[in-house]
Symmetry: C2
Subunit: 419 residues, 2 copies
């Protein structure tokens, strides 16, 4: 059997560690030259296959590839392109097969979240349908930690660490000045549908008086009265109040608070996110001086403070994809499995793609404290190991020395373009 | 001569490294027990003296004090309280002297920015006027880097490093997704009057195509047309545009853009900072999808990514204050002096307090590029050494293990309270 090549691509929102998975794929493939040909990577995810834009990673030095382990973002470009059903877009699927065939692709690894695993699944079905031999393996990734079956998602641990570190640090700042100045600090974090990232901020709290004093989850309908009461109590008891708010927090009618704020009574667009809204509410109703921060992409790109466990898992999943492919596995997404026992230990498992595609895992109720503003001990036990350890990138001139790839596109093999 | 005690206090906005100066003061005083008594620290800055709330640092373990070196915020509380002229507030000055006398204070060290050095100066004058023997030494501190005479300010180097790291990381994120999603990213940073922090983000740019593509300085009046042209050019040439905007950016009439945005035409309060305003402008005029972040206190509290040079200088200044006092120096602020030569070397000097009080140092014109949107090579040469080196705090359970002090207040010695 002639050696087949790998097509790997990054999909959806990028993370601080998705390139560590790429690194795992490429380095492991290089260690199995007898069985595997080249690793091609799609430019901007699956679009790279459709448009016949495949980076040839054999043109990159071992050092440049090793640098992917500690470089944030998606080094090859990502996309949010969702493939439609086989019936609707037969031409699109045929195009993928034609390109894969032209580049002798035998392995398809797609690195992404729930939507992306749906794509992986559809491509797997399509390949079978068209009798094209293709090993399809999903490599999980999402800062939102909302993928089903897997115990956690690569990318999440590093965001979790960033938000917990940040609220601990900002909390010390506010505490210093609270008596004569700012009393309330609000930090907005990601998580449109699931509160995992907001919950992780709760890890900063070791004692009752510690930040964060309030967490607002998408899973808990926002109740203005009980929120304001909690703010006032925190200021009274501790002298200040720190709040972590998920971008996805909603009112009782299920409406996003941030969307509520998009227009005022006269229809004028509001500019801010949910943090400035909450700040304004606190100021209007309680009169406290406030500050607010919106971490936005800083949080998911913060490789400088990545979780070591997260980096190791991300790399291991890339490695495992190659090994699973060589074992003949297909139509699976790899998972991170937590072993039983007091001390955190993990291993890599797998699950049929159809069981994870398009499913979102929100926070279980037992992870949210009774008053709805904090996390439980069970939640801490779950989250704590995921931020364990530091994995600092190398520095040059005071800044992280992130890798720069040559990114050489393979010559086009088909005469036709994809419309 | 009986041993005199030190009164040290932190003033104004806190930083990631102001506690390193406190650590330098306390540890050095402990190493000179023959000459110096206790180190008292004011609770919430100079207010602690007025209210007779003095923390007795002799109650803290060596380990807890050593931990100040790597703990952000103001461990003893800070304030923005400004003393008025001697004539206006004679009672206030008399109170300070009475408290200093009661606690046998012979040394007054005030750790703060321009306003705080004005306070140090006034207290020095007042002590002379009232014939109370008091050594007065200002220890510089301000993230804004806007103090006169000193080559740079402790606290600035760490913010500088944070913003340069953050824009490099977020830039990699945006670059990954730009072709199919977000094309413009805006990060708002501190600096109400001086653009030093915004300028520091420019250190992330090694090549012309690198982020940040645009910096908006308080020193350069905002010109909408040339700004939008630059955004469009960046998107055309590099596929995306990253913008660092100083909170203090103003229009041609000298009005803060953020204040312009505070109310709409109907007088309704706007909630956001300047980043969402710029984002809205880009969206309206150019149609690009955007994201924005406001780092706020996260930037000045980010001890986890502090500059090693900054930490060393901050500690050394605390140490130097004690040594200068023992040498009989008074009525000075300590300064950081840059030695001539290609490689960065620094030493500690001093300057008469009256020469630095209430003076703001803005960016020189030769540090801003001709088009007003970037920094020059001279600016890089100035800034680059200040972010050099990493000085990571210790971690426990995946989070920085910041010191917790006992903070024991000394028993009150005067029967009277300060009104």
């Amino acid at each position: 059997m002639a050696k087949k090549n790998i097509f790997y691509a990054q999909s959806g929102g990028v993370t601080a560690v998705i390139n560590a998975s790429a690194c795992g794929v490429i380095e492991t493939a290089r260690n199995h030259r007898a069985d595997i040909g080249k690793v091609y990577v799609g430019r901007n995810g699956i679009l790279g296959a459709l448009h016949q834009e495949l980076y040839d990673t054999s043109k990159e030095s071992a050092k440049a590839i090793a640098g992917l382990r500690y470089t944030p973002g998606g080094a090859f470009g990502s996309c949010r392109y969702k493939l439609k059903g086989l019936e609707e877009h037969r031409a699109q699927y045929q195009r993928l097969i034609d390109v894969f065939d032209a580049y002798n692709i035998g392995y398809f690894f797609y690195n992404g979240g729930g939507d992306s695993q749906d794509t992986t699944h559809k491509i797997s079905q399509m390949a079978k349908h068209l009798n094209y031999p293709l090993t399809c393996i999903g490599i999980p990734k999402t800062v939102d930690n909302d993928l089903a079956v897997t115990d956690n998602c690569p990318g999440f641990g590093s965001v979790a660490k960033y938000v917990a570190v940040s609220i601990r640090e900002a909390g010390l700042d506010i505490a210093s000045m609270a008596e004569t100045s700012t009393k309330v600090f609000i930090m907005e974090v990601m998580g449109r549908h699931a509160g995992w990232i907001a919950a992780a901020a709760g890890l900063a709290k070791e004692e009752e008086a510690d930040p964060p004093h309030i967490i607002l989850f998408p899973e808990v309908p926002f109740d203005e009265a009980s929120f304001l009461k909690k703010v006032a109590t925190s200021v009274k008891d501790y002298g200040y109040c720190t709040i972590v708010v998920s971008e996805g927090v909603r009112n009782k009618d299920g409406q996003f608070l941030s969307e509520q704020g998009l227009r005022d009574a006269f229809g004028h667009a509001q500019l801010g996110g949910v943090a400035p809204m909450i700040a304004q509410l606190v100021k209007t109703k309680l009169g406290y001086k406030y500050h607010w921060a919106v971490a936005d992409y800083l949080q998911r790109a913060a490789r400088h403070i990545a979780s070591k466990v997260d980096v190791e898992q991300s790399y291991a999943l890339g490695e495992a994809a190659v090994l699973a492919a060589l074992e003949g596995k297909t139509d699976i997404m790899l998972t991170l499995d937590r072993k039983p026992g007091k001390h955190y230990r993990w291993s890599i498992g797998d699950v049929a793609l159809k069981k994870v595609a398009n499913i979102e895992k929100t926070m279980p109720k037992r992870y949210i404290s009774k008053d709805g503003f904090g996390i439980t001990a069970a939640c801490r036990d779950y989250l704590s190991p995921l931020i364990e350890g530091e994995d600092y990138p190398p520095y040059k001139n005071g800044l992280p020395d992130y890798t720069r790839l040559k990114k050489v596109l393979a010559p086009k093999k088909l005469d036709t373009d994809f419309a």
